[in-house]
Symmetry: C2
Subunit: 370 residues, 2 copies
Amino acid sequence: MKNASLGTINTQYFKFSELVLESGKKISPVQVAYETYGTLNDNKTNAILITHAFSGDAHVAGVKEGENKPGWWDIMIGPGKAFDTDKYFVICSNVIGGCGGTTGPSSIDPKTSRPYGLNFPMITIADMVNVQKHLIDFLGIDKLLCVSGGSMGGMQVLQWVNSFPEKIISAIPIATAMKHSPQQIAFDEVGRQAIMADPDWNKGDYYDKTQPERGLSVARMIGHITYMSDKSMEEKFSRKLKEDKAPFSFSADFEVEGYLRHRGDSFVKRFDANSYLYITKAMDHFDLSDGKLIPKDKKVDTRFLVIGFESDWLYPAYQLREIIQCLKIKGIDATYCHIKSHYGHDAFLLEKEEQTKLIKPFLNRVYNAG
Amino acid sequence: MKNASLGTINTQYFKFSELVLESGKKISPVQVAYETYGTLNDNKTNAILITHAFSGDAHVAGVKEGENKPGWWDIMIGPGKAFDTDKYFVICSNVIGGCGGTTGPSSIDPKTSRPYGLNFPMITIADMVNVQKHLIDFLGIDKLLCVSGGSMGGMQVLQWVNSFPEKIISAIPIATAMKHSPQQIAFDEVGRQAIMADPDWNKGDYYDKTQPERGLSVARMIGHITYMSDKSMEEKFSRKLKEDKAPFSFSADFEVEGYLRHRGDSFVKRFDANSYLYITKAMDHFDLSDGKLIPKDKKVDTRFLVIGFESDWLYPAYQLREIIQCLKIKGIDATYCHIKSHYGHDAFLLEKEEQTKLIKPFLNRVYNAG
């Protein structure tokens, strides 16, 4: 599994004194966890920002010291890969509100010297992008060659275009939407309700006690159903019964049940329940529809490659086509590519070859034109 | 709302001494809650059994004494309606394992004089049908003109054909499947996990304490998302924010959130959490696929009208077409009708006109031929 070619990866940390949120509230100080891969060229024209999905973090590629598991998009980032680290300087940071090293509800509130919990202010996708802008400035990068990400990562890509179009040469939003539909909000809401129904949640004040593991695990299970397709579940599990047990009881009879429980259980070890609440709320309130995507007062030269997947019913193709329509109306250079896949929403994390085929020449074109 | 034409409806109760389950275990005694509408004719050829869905009960039509809300399929059953009570004698009973008056986990176990809880044996769809057969025998009915139901009700219809084909002249399974896919099992499993994660569940022993309301409410919310379509949610809620609150917090911002919470909260008042576990397990283990639907040693003359709905993604059209294929291979008189509807799985409870148009002449034909 070790991706020796990227060497050993270390998460780095950058701090700045104060972030003014979209709501007007302030967070200070702010720490940002980030990783970089490849080398920034002398004129700083080869930087690519990767934005992560809901449960992702800064560790997008390579293997960290003492670990075995490669980063969450390692199939796409590395020497010779779609985001070729022999050529480009790739950056990924954990979002504000997260729990992967960037300031979030589990961080210490300097006012109380205790974890923020629900005292952490509500955050938005625009706030996430503003934090990334601080990081880019800190790294001395004036323009990004590309911003790319799937799912909530795609929302950040769209928000970058909206907030700082002059700063990004190209954008690759994948399996995402300009706004959540009521069904998407509903799935998020049930996850939040599952967490808040757990007595261990204790109104978000659990950091010196027990994390609301049962509620968070149920929330994650719901998520996993929406990340897969009917067909990919059929291929993976069929109706197979678990081998190690007598059938027909309330323990997990079917393999699919065991899988979901396992995914729920492993999630609670790495993710903070309050971050689940804050980040899903940020997604649900994100809305760049109705012409809001492209700001009226700014010239947008950003080139777009928009990617969606056949069996993704969480972010269905019509939502990606709406993005394209919005861009085309403004005369922006944009293409939609629809990839055939059975993997459902997870496809953006799994379909290496098809995505590489599309992304590599696209990046090559924008890099050579730049 | 009052459906005066059916008069005041009373739930009736029938008891028998012992039910031998598919598993070989026994339940004794068994009480069955049922209701009837219309009049059984002298030669008892006009009886129709309606089988209910997961959370349904015996109260399918009309209004009970002292209540205002009509039964769950009142749009379809009554004088002049699809199941015309001026012509037919309609029966509906609560399933074994349920909590609507038929013996289930909340009933008193005569061995302990306490509610069964998890001492209630696992039950199957075939067990539900066997209980209905006891009821039909008790009512002195030799043959049913028709068995009809949607969702889990449709599974019971299919099980009737499998268990007692000689007893049913026609069958109308609606929005159902011969077996649950892994995705359907997964949604049920997350609901069960939400209930079992609630400390109030207490391994099913909560009847003298508090019902696991929070877990059961979350389970119901998940269900409601799967009963609606992306489009029906869009039409009903759009992204409207609730009027009575300041936006952007962890209380319900969006109307869809308020709706789900309300549906969850009202469900816990009328449904037993252990029944949720037992009945969903019965659905998940139901499997009449791979030619099992039609028993090899029996002649099946039953005529089928199979109905599915365009936007039903919980029981998609391909599952209904699989039923038809299975019937046609055996040379059975069967038709599939696919109704255009935005209502998702809920369509079978809402689409009065389209279903009536199909069911009324179908019943007329089988009644006149009989």
